[in-house]
């Protein structure tokens, strides 16, 4: 286990198109959690 800031991704899934993109369009601002 590593701290998140030390983590270097070795294997990583990036499907195309990246499903993350559609979820991270909304920026909720500081009070509600920002962008995903």
């Amino acid at each position: 286990w590593e701290w998140p800031w030390n983590r270097k991704p070795t294997k990583f899934p990036i499907p195309s198109p990246n499903p993350r993109d559609k979820w991270c369009r909304l920026n909720l601002g500081p009070a509600w959690g920002g962008r995903c």
Partner: protein
């Protein structure tokens, strides 16, 4: 190519790469002239996400902005693309510092006054918790907002990776956690008032200080647990670009592998947003409105009784009832401000879930502006609470005077710090709210 590919090796050698490959980019704000991986410094390129890729720089570009913080088709974190600048600069950059100072002063005063021994009631304990959480909601993101918007550094890529993580924690996760605690404390306060007003005998068992302290601790723990996955749900991939003439390690954001492996991106974000819509926005709003209606009805009833008692010249009972009414009215004002901020967020987040999962219909440019204005309204409402307490609670004003102007200025009859509705204190001479 397998979906689960080694990312570091997805940066493949560009067919046209020359040893001095430097890409001239159209956007002058970008000032990026090629990128290198931290591992082997090869001339590599990134996998094509396809034209449908809608990360936020792409989105910004799509809606007409010139924002394009990416290099060789990979985006990196840059605040210029994070929020609509024409609103972010005046609201976050110029107005927020003033609101921060006012909030810190007013909420510190609230905490100072409410933490006095004479003010120690279950209601005040919850109000104090709310004041602390509200203050932390603006304090945590303040340094980031100052640096990015007030001092105009938003165009610089956020770097290095540790700074991206810190920015995410202090500008997104911690404020959201504090605000969630504040939301649930508002709910706890309303429930408490409901018990005091409508089921007074139960208050002696349910609204004791140890119980309220325990409840506050559980609320804080629950809010922490609900934000806990967010500390780990994204991976900050280091990406070395040449920025302003020197190699800079910027952050490319990706959803963490465990989300892909064990839950799935769609299910993870749907659960997260749905939990927030239901338990942080919708249910608290519904419960608060219901309790407020019940409280309002009880208040009306009490007013009628008060008129009757007044006619019968039973002054002592009449005063007790008036205290209850003012406290309840104060709660109604606090809750109404809360609803004004939470309902738009609940609606937009619900629309976001539908738009991302079922059918694309939400105008994200507009939604982000609406949310930014609501964020601003929320912070704007924090110092108003101080005005509400001061304006509506004589006990608050008296304690405030005692602390800052000395006991001479305080009224001689300020022995009366206990409300009949809040615990075993002697009756007050005041006609106003005793929290």
């Amino acid at each position: 190519m397998d979906n689960y590919t080694d990312v570091l090796y997805q940066y493949r050698l560009a067919p046209s790469a020359s040893p001095e490959m430097e890409m001239e980019l159209a956007d002058p704000r970008q000032m990026v002239r090629g990128f290198h991986l931290p591992t082997n410094e090869s001339q590599l390129e990134i996998p094509d996400y396809g034209n449908e890729s809608l990360d936020y720089p792409n989105y910004q570009q799509m809606v007409g902005g010139p924002c394009r913080m990416e290099d060789n088709n990979i985006s990196y974190w840059n605040l210029t693309c994070d929020s609509p600048l024409e609103y972010a600069m005046p609201l976050y950059g110029y107005c927020m510092p003033f609101l921060l100072i006012i909030t810190i002063i007013s909420n510190s005063l609230i905490v100072l006054v409410l933490s006095k021994k004479s003010m120690a009631t279950p209601t005040n304990f919850v109000l104090m918790g709310m004041a602390i959480c509200d203050m932390l909601t603006v304090i945590f993101p303040a340094p980031g907002l100052w640096y990015m918007y007030t001092f105009g550094n938003h165009y610089k890529p956020l770097h290095p990776v540790s700074m991206c993580l810190a920015y995410s924690i202090f500008n997104e996760i911690m404020p959201a956690m504090c605000h969630t605690i504040s939301v649930w404390l508002t709910l706890a306060l309303a429930v408490q008032r409901y018990i005091y007003v409508c089921h007074a005998p139960m208050a002696r068992t349910w609204c004791t200080m140890p119980r309220v302290r325990r409840c506050t601790a559980y609320i804080a723990l629950l809010a922490f647990l609900h934000q806990l996955p967010r500390f780990f749900d994204r991976t900050y991939m280091p990406l070395v670009i040449e920025w302003n003439g020197s190699p800079t390690e910027v952050c490319h954001l990706e959803t963490s592998m465990w989300v892909h492996d064990y839950i799935g991106v769609d299910l993870y974000y749907t659960s997260y947003y749905l939990f927030r819509v239901l338990f942080v926005h919708l249910l608290p709003c519904i419960i608060l409105v219901t309790l407020n209606i019940l409280l309002f009805a009880a208040m009306r009833q009490a007013q009628e009784r008060r008129k009757l008692l007044f006619r019968e010249n039973r002054k002592k009972e009449c005063k007790k009832l008036r205290e209850t009414n003012c406290t309840t009215l104060m709660l109604i004002v606090v809750v109404s401000v809360f609803l004004l901020a939470e309902i738009p967020i609940a609606v937009v987040t619900a629309m976001h879930i539908v738009s991302s999962l079922i059918i694309e219909f939400l105008d994200y440019g507009l939604a982000n502006i609406c949310i930014m204005l609501t964020n601003f309204f929320l912070v704007f409402s924090y110092p108003i609470n101080f005005g509400i307490y001061c304006g509506m609670s004589r006990q608050f004003r008296e304690t405030f005077k005692e602390i800052f102007l000395g006991r001479l200025m305080a009224k001689k009859d300020s022995s009366t710090k206990y409300s009949i509705v809040n615990g075993a204190r002697t009756c007050t001479n005041t006609n106003e709210t005793v929290l």
